[in-house]
Amino acid sequence: MHYTICDVVLDLIHNSIEAGSSLVELSLIEDAKTITVVVKDNGKGMDAETLKRVQDPFYTDGEKHTARKVGLGIPFLVQLAGQVQGAWNIDSEPGIGTTVSFSLPYKHIDLPPVGDIPSCVLSAFCFSESADIAVHRFRDGSEVYSVKRSEILDAVGDLTDAQALLLAKQYLESLET
């Protein structure tokens, strides 16, 4: 089980990147009652059979870990949504992409902390694959900021340098204010 909602988000983005996406779009939508997250990618997608099986913690495509029989990312999401009476959905089409979304009520006592959003976004930007990642942050119905991995790379260069990473983090934190 992931500790924060941000951890779930990072895990989903990593799935999208590993699915060979060139663009991943993350929307973080907060209002007084709920937090809604949408991760949309243009990766390889899944057929209906695979889509059913990803909820099973003992299913994995076996490509990356041939000797391993677990895949916990989506099961963690399903478990989280279930424990707080939230909702989740996955739409996917082979060759087109996948959209994973979930919505969680703030008032539920078992809702985990949201987590550190700038840190989560920075981590998402740091996976070495070339996918661009666009983040859209909404509060109470209006977009408060958006940021793209490509524009950060353009401004600070490669995100493997500690100083570049710290500056990028500072920038992402400033957007949250």
Binding site: H14, H65, F127, Y145, A155, D161, A162
Partner: protein, 131 residues
């Protein structure tokens, strides 16, 4: 703190770079990988990553170290895992790397060139090593 613009970010970075280029360095030859698969994330690898970049910067190693993220290294039972490749030191995978251990790795492994005992684990599991 108000919202920073991309232009401000770019300028800050350029100022940093000109400062770095004044130093005489032979390029980055140390690489640190942080495992950020489902297992790593669940065990707190994001905090480890944040601490590592702060510690690298605080020890003045920014111009020598590349910090990268990777997926699961196959050692899910000792996450968060951190692999360090540094000249003159054995290639090492550290496990159970919380913030305090991350700082210790930078201080001992990278600065003092000694291993951090109690956190040394094996090479990645056989099923994910590229043949």
């Amino acid at each position: 703190m108000g919202k920073m613009t991309l232009e401000e970010l770019r300028k800050l970075r350029e100022a940093q770079k000109s400062e770095i280029s004044k130093r005489d360095t032979a390029g980055k030859d140390i690489t640190i990988f942080v495992g950020m698969g489902t297992c790593g994330i669940a065990a707190g690898a994001k905090t480890t990553f944040d601490t590592l970049i702060k510690a690298v910067d605080a020890n003045g190693l920014s111009d020598k170290v590349v910090v990268k993220q990777t997926g699961c290294m196959g050692l899910c039972y000792v996450e968060p895992t951190v692999e360090v490749i540094a000249p003159g030191m054995p290639q090492t995978i550290y496990g159970k790397v919380d913030s305090a251990t991350a700082e210790e790795i930078v201080k001992k492994h990278l600065v003092e060139h000694t291993l951090v005992e109690g956190h040394i684990y094996d090479r990645p599991a056989i099923d994910i090593v590229k043949k």
